[in-house]
């Protein structure tokens, strides 16, 4: 699957010399760099074809450019050479960098204004829209593939441990007690392949960023960076320190397996080795394809003593940015705007949601999926959507708008890995994360002249 995409991409690359924006049939050609593989890449291809067939003027040429970080780097290099593609898929942590890109991008509100194509922000789900909007509500980039963090659990392992497989742990103290019950049975025949009770993919995103959002705790000042480049990190508050100490304690007790950075621990869950796993809701397709046991998705657990009324979690994934070149014509921008509008139609959004496992980004797409009976057929597929729509969004749950956020995440991984080896405490890990991360933020601020 992946190989085919790569071949298609390399075959298509010569065509994509950007100066020439005419396709074979005399249509305007819109070049779209993306980072999707497997089923998701097929769906990207389908969207491009469907758009080409839906109107006579333009066609979309999707090109696979590697992982998210590669796409961002390639887009920057291309823009500096005045060869930028029309559309790029940029991951959510790159949003801060793209917002500082000034003339390199044409933000959605400006695109709509200049081309006269109506791109109404209000059709998008607030949790998604907020992440990619300016503080006054104008859309900067177009929401595309969005996910959020959920908790996956192995129902068979729950049954084997004498827990109720239909009742997922709702609080962190439930998680700890369930993990202990599971640990007690590891090695028995009923427990099968399970070797560790809990693991987490994207540990920083899930256990710190999302944890803060749902409990309404700040990650950084200035509304998590939305209100200025001079934001300072704040994630070393007592609640987060408690959360970190708990995870470190669980690791020591053999209840939590670190597993690695980013998506590395994913496989621990679907190979049946970890009974509870935190991860992206977009992992649904992968789990369905690989897991040989009964499983379910549940909302992220909470700490009721910190906040009994959890609010919305924040999104991950990517959005689409329109890029500029010197010779790009109004007709091309208009075609881009029409394609973005096309992606937001209920049919396309619902289809994308149902085939990939990402959440619908529009109300229309969600309603259409309900009407299709998708959530009856796939129980639990609406868990991430409900979690994203929970409560009233605050400055702490809108998202993070920090330059070089991926670097800050890496710093936190490094500090946490030291803590997991017993070289420092949870508080020291987070304090070091704050001080090293603040240096990165100041460096970014200086570099963009803020």
């Amino acid at each position: 699957m992946k190989r085919r995409t790569l071949l298609a991409a390399s075959a298509a690359t010569p065509l994509a010399s950007i100066g020439r924006a005419r396709g074979q049939a005399g249509k305007l050609q819109i070049v779209w760099w993306h980072a999707m593989t497997g089923v998701n890449a097929d769906e990207i291809g389908r969207l491009a074809r469907a758009f080409g067939e839906s109107q006579p003027e333009a066609e979309v040429l999707p090109i696979f450019k590697g992982g998210y970080a590669d796409v961002l780097t390639a887009a920057i290099a291309a823009w500096r050479a005045d060869q930028a593609p029309h559309l790029v898929q940029i991951f959510e942590v790159g949003t801060g960098s793209m917002l500082a890109a000034g003339p390199a991008t044409k933000q959605v509100w400006k695109l709509a204004e200049e081309t006269g194509v109506v791109l109404d922000p209000s059709i998008y789900i607030p949790g998604v829209r907020g992440y990619y909007s300016l503080t006054d509500g104008r859309l900067a980039s177009m929401p595309f593939n969005s996910s959020t963090a959920v908790m996956w659990y192995n129902k068979d392992a729950f049954a084997a441990a004498g827990l109720d497989p239909e009742k997922a742990p709702a609080t962190w103290s439930d998680v700890v007690s369930s993990a202990r019950a599971i640990k007690a049975k590891i090695g028995t025949p009923e427990m099968g392949a399970v070797k560790s009770p809990v693991t987490s993919s994207w540990m920083i995103w899930v256990q710190l960023e999302q944890y803060g959002a749902i409990h309404d705790l700040p990650f950084a000042t200035k509304a998590n960076g939305f209100e200025g480049l001079d934001a300072e990190l704040k994630f070393n508050g007592p609640a987060q320190v408690k959360q970190w100490d708990r995870l470190l304690g669980m690791a020591k007790e053999g209840l939590y397996e670190y597993g690695g950075r980013d998506t590395v621990p994913d496989a621990l869950f679907y190979s049946g080795q970890a009974a509870i796993a935190f991860g992206s809701s977009a992992g649904r397709g992968q789990i369905a394809a690989n897991a040989k046991f009964k499983w379910a998705a549940a909302p992220l657990p909470i700490d009721p003593e910190i906040n009994p009324n959890p609010i919305n979690s924040i999104i991950g994934g990517a959005s689409l940015w329109t890029m500029t070149t010197k010779q790009r014509s109004v007709a091309e921008y208009k075609a881009i705007a029409q394609f973005l509008k096309f992606l937001g139609t209920p049919e396309q959004d619902a289809h994308f949601h149902q085939t990939t496992g990402y959440v619908p980004v529009t109300f229309g797409g969600y309603e259409k999926s309900k009407a299709d009976g998708y959530y009856e057929k796939q129980p639990g597929a609406d868990v991430p959507i409900k979690q994203l729509a929970r409560g009233t969004m605050t400055a702490n749950s809108r998202g993070l708008r920090l330059g070089r956020l991926s670097e800050i995440r890496n710093i936190l991984y490094e500090e946490t890995e030291k803590a997991l080896q017993g070289q420092q405490s949870g508080k020291e890990a987070l304090d070091n994360g704050v001080s090293r991360g603040n240096r990165v933020l100041r460096e970014f601020q200086k570099s963009v002249g803020g």
Binding site: A69, L72, R80, G102, S271, E414, K418, S447, G449
Partner: protein
């Protein structure tokens, strides 16, 4: 002196030198110059704001204790990789130098790892050593060794040294084998007649005669460990846990490509460039001197 007169004018020599000169200019000197220039600026990823920063980037680097740690770690890594890969290669070369049946097959097999892409080699090592899915990793954990290189600084360093050294064994093997074959048989025969035994003969005759090869390989292995192991490290540990396996090259990649901090990343590549220039100069000097004496 005489040869110069073969060319009548300037045009032909210029035309002959030009392609090589242009290639060097476009693919080496120009990018290197760009790196030096970027290392003196502070700029945002898109190049919208670029300001001259003097030696700020270098000062920041060398006042950062994490960078200094990275230099020490890289030196350790280079020494470890060179030592492991060269001693293994020498051992294998000594065995393959004997008159044994099918030695062409052994030699070919020993050379083959060199043809494997670093990322592929790393995947093979993951399949062996990963604590949960690797054959050796699972075996170790089952036998009471707490093996998890994702969370143990020393194990992680061991893993990348092993994987990087393994890839270089073939290269060293070829050179050592050639070196062994060029040791004059007469000298060895003479030593044998004087009663020098296997190990003694190797230590006093063969090994000293291999010295030029050994020195050349030390330099090549050092450069290899510093620059060409990026793919292996990235695939195995991404520099973690903590910063336990973050070599200078991994840091250049992370700061430049992932963090888009062009100024600092360029400054780091300039530092690396100076390192290579130093190593190469050392090599030329040493080998040149040996030839002339």
């Amino acid at each position: 002196m005489e040869r110069r007169t073969i060319f009548g004018g300037h045009l032909l020599p210029i035309a002959l030198v030009a392609p090589q000169f242009l290639l060097t200019l476009i693919f080496f000197l120009w990018p290197a110059g760009q790196a030096v220039w970027s290392s003196l600026t502070r700029q945002d990823p898109f190049g919208l704001h670029s300001q001259f920063a003097g030696f700020d980037n270098f000062v920041e680097l060398f006042t950062d204790s994490l960078y200094r740690d990275s230099i020490g770690r890289t030196a350790l890594f280079m020494i470890a990789v060179s030592a492991v890969s060269m001693s293994l290669a020498l051992l294998l070369a000594v065995f393959a130098d004997r008159e044994i049946r099918g030695r062409i097959i052994y030699r070919t097999l020993l050379i083959s790892p060199y043809a494997i892409a670093p990322a592929m080699a790393a995947v093979l090592w993951i399949l062996l050593l990963q604590p949960r899915i690797g054959i050796v990793g699972v075996w170790l954990n089952r036998h009471g060794v707490h093996w998890d290189y994702h969370l143990n600084d020393y194990q992680a360093m061991g893993v990348i040294v092993l994987a990087s050294a393994w890839k270089q064994v073939s290269y060293n093997f070829i050179f050592f084998l050639a070196g062994l074959q060029s040791v004059p048989r007469a000298v060895l025969e003479a030593a044998r007649m004087d009663g020098a035994r296997g190990w003694h003969r190797f230590r006093t005759i063969t090994f000293p005669l291999l010295a030029p090869t050994t020195f050349f390989l030390v330099v090549v292995n050092m450069v290899y460990a510093a620059f060409d192991t990026f793919g292996t490290i990235q695939a195995l540990t991404q520099g973690g846990p903590g910063k336990a396996t973050e070599t200078l090259m991994v840091k250049v990649y992370r700061d430049g490509v992932v963090n888009l901090d062009i100024g600092s990343s360029s400054a780091q590549s300039v530092v690396l460039m100076l390192g290579v220039i130093g190593l190469t100069a050392l090599q030329f000097r040493f080998i040149g001197r040996r030839r002339s004496t």
